[in-house]
């Protein structure tokens, strides 16, 4: 079984990946823009926050700067697509590759330790909670506030215009929506959230590493798709809750799999398990529909 510390650890990373899943929800679902920038903007957020904290900045301001850095990275991807007409997927890969160099430049070395620095978590340790519960508490608050703000945004005039841009760009233009601008705003917002996740991850793990972004997109997608399977995303708020639920369940499942000795899985199998889970999550609903389709007549 899972130890208490492993359980809280899974919750902690699950909540952080909930923020990543929010970002991926905006790009993949709202805008229909397959964006892989997140593999670069996650460590970018970590690097920016870590370096600013080491330079003596207030950790919250450093985290805010990480959000802005993530937004800038997302804006670059979107502008490559909108202004230069580069295929969205390719545009995001270009930014992701470029960010690897940028992140190394920002940190000046492959990784930076934060263990002795004051982080956003430091003041909370005085509350008298167990050491492993503190990050969970703080991240629940951050995720909750992000969820409410995103939900309000998606219900606003601009948010509705963004949803229309992804769902029916031709109709959106006919309604006077600058679809290109909406894509830039949305992809920036998405990567801003991922930058926030990266910054929080670095502070809770005590280090920023240039390779920490590898596979973030797949984990985020796994969380999103898994969450959607569990919580039918019929409304915006349900879709956002699905992101958090999916991310936490995913981390818990991984923690169980790695802790269950009978399966014989080890930490290095993580990416393989993730890829298999995502493949199944993508394929299974389709298989189910085609089986159902064989027994029901298609509507003309």
């Amino acid at each position: 079984m899972l130890s208490e510390i492993a359980f809280y650890g899974a919750l902690e990373t699950g909540l952080i990946y909930g923020l990543v899943a929010f970002g991926i929800y905006i790009s993949f679902r709202v805008l229909d823009f397959p964006d892989l920038t997140v593999d670069g903007s996650f460590p970018l957020g970590a690097a920016v926050a870590a370096m600013l904290i080491i330079a003596g900045w207030n950790p919250w301001i450093a985290t805010g700067a990480a959000v802005l850095a993530g937004m800038a990275a997302g804006a670059v991807t979107a502008l490559l697509n909108v202004k230069l007409n580069i295929l969205n997927l390719l545009a995001s890969i270009l930014t992701m590759i470029a960010l690897y160099s940028v992140n190394l430049r920002i940190m000046g070395r492959p990784n930076v330790a934060l263990l002795t620095e004051e982080t956003v978590l430091t003041p909370w340790y005085d509350l008298g909670l167990a050491f492993h519960q503190v990050p969970v508490l703080l991240f629940v608050v951050v995720v909750f506030i992000s969820l409410i703000l995103l939900w309000r945004f998606m219900k606003s005039e601009t948010g509705l215009a963004m949803r229309a841009t992804g769902a029916n760009p031709r109709m959106a233009r006919a309604q006077g929506i600058a679809t290109g601008g909406m894509i830039v705003l949305g992809v920036a917002l998405s990567n801003g959230l991922v930058g926030l996740a990266g910054a929080l991850f670095a502070q809770s793990q005590g280090a920023a590493d240039v390779t920490m972004g590898v596979g973030v997109i797949v984990i985020g997608l796994a969380s999103l798709i898994g969450g959607e399977a569990l919580v039918t995303p019929s409304t915006v708020v349900r879709a956002l809750i699905a992101c958090v639920v999916g991310a936490i369940i995913y981390r818990l499942a991984i923690a169980f799999a790695l802790n269950a000795d009978v399966l014989g899985l080890q930490a290095q199998d993580l990416n393989l398990i993730t890829a298999v889970l995502v493949t199944l999550a993508i394929v299974l609903p389709g298989v189910r529909n085609s089986v159902i389709g064989k027994f029901t007549r298609k509507k003309a």
Binding site: F153, K155, S156, E157, T158, G159, L160, A161, R163, A164, A167, N168, R170, M171, A172, R173, A174, Q175, G176, I177, A178, T179
Partner: protein
């Protein structure tokens, strides 16, 4: 007033598939006119509408809407003046948004969109009132997803959305062509009613010559990217499809053998 002068547009320039879609198209539509546009396949009807809407930018010529030159403006910058209903009933609305969200998008057509709630309480009365004029019972289904509605219902709502805010011109691109005959008749009747009640200026592309003569105040026929004839007022009264074909042959000095032109 809408004025298009000497519009020219060639698709696939310099390729073996070069296709001159507009070859000096000129048309002026006055305030309050309801113009029906006919022409065979490839006559340039849809391209002309797309050029007016901004979906395609013409190679040369000029488009003036209410004294403003919009020739080079993209679609979204013309949207405040140009309202549109597409041929595909699925194209004019967002299926995964609710009916009220679709209407909320349309009520801000061409205006700045802020961070306040999109579906405001003060809109709901207006939404219900306009929807009830459709007599489809949709006024009680504001929260339903658009995707739950039939093609005809969606096209009726598209029409409503296009007329929710004032426009200089309403473009209707064969908007009844994809519907079954009964629904098409309903949507056409609704179109006439809305245009008359709100005194809209409209341009309706149709495949049916009969419809082109029965509906509206003026009929324009396009052929090979130009206006071949333009008929309104007394000349148009009592005109029948065969007269129209005769006119066309006289104008062009050629036999009409295009089946699609004869279809009514």
């Amino acid at each position: 007033m809408i004025s298009a002068s000497d519009l020219r547009l060639t698709f696939g320039k310099g390729t073996p598939l070069e296709n001159p879609a507009l070859r000096g198209m000129s048309l002026t539509v006055n305030q309050g006119e309801f113009v029906t546009v006919i022409g065979s396949n490839g006559a340039g009807k849809s391209t002309f509408l797309n050029a007016l809407a901004g979906e395609v930018i013409v190679d040369s010529g000029q488009i003036i809407v209410d004294n403003q030159d919009v020739t080079r403006l993209p679609t979204h910058k013309r949207a405040a003046r140009v309202a549109r209903v597409f041929q595909d009933p699925l194209a004019g609305t967002c299926e995964n948004l609710s009916i009220e969200e679709n209407l909320a998008l349309a009520i801000k057509r061409g205006q700045r969109r802020g961070l306040t709630s999109a579906v405001k309480k003060q809109y709901l009365g207006q939404f219900r009132e306009s929807l009830s004029s459709l007599k489809l019972g949709l006024e009680n289904r504001l929260g339903d997803k658009m995707g739950l509605l039939s093609g005809g219902q969606r096209q009726a709502v598209s029409l409503l959305m296009a007329s929710l805010t004032p426009s200089s011109i309403l473009l209707l691109d064969e908007h009844t062509a994809a519907l079954d005959p009964k629904t098409a008749a309903f949507v056409l009747e609704l179109t006439e009613k809305i245009i008359e009640e709100q005194k809209l200026t409209a341009l309706m592309v149709t495949h049916s010559m009969k419809q082109a003569l029965e509906v509206g105040t003026r009929t324009v026929m396009l052929h090979q990217g130009q206006v071949v004839f333009d008929i309104a007022g007394e000349d148009r009264e009592g005109l029948e499809v065969k007269d129209l074909l005769g006119l066309f042959e006289k104008q062009r000095g050629l036999e009409v053998d295009d089946d699609s032109l004869l279809l009514s």
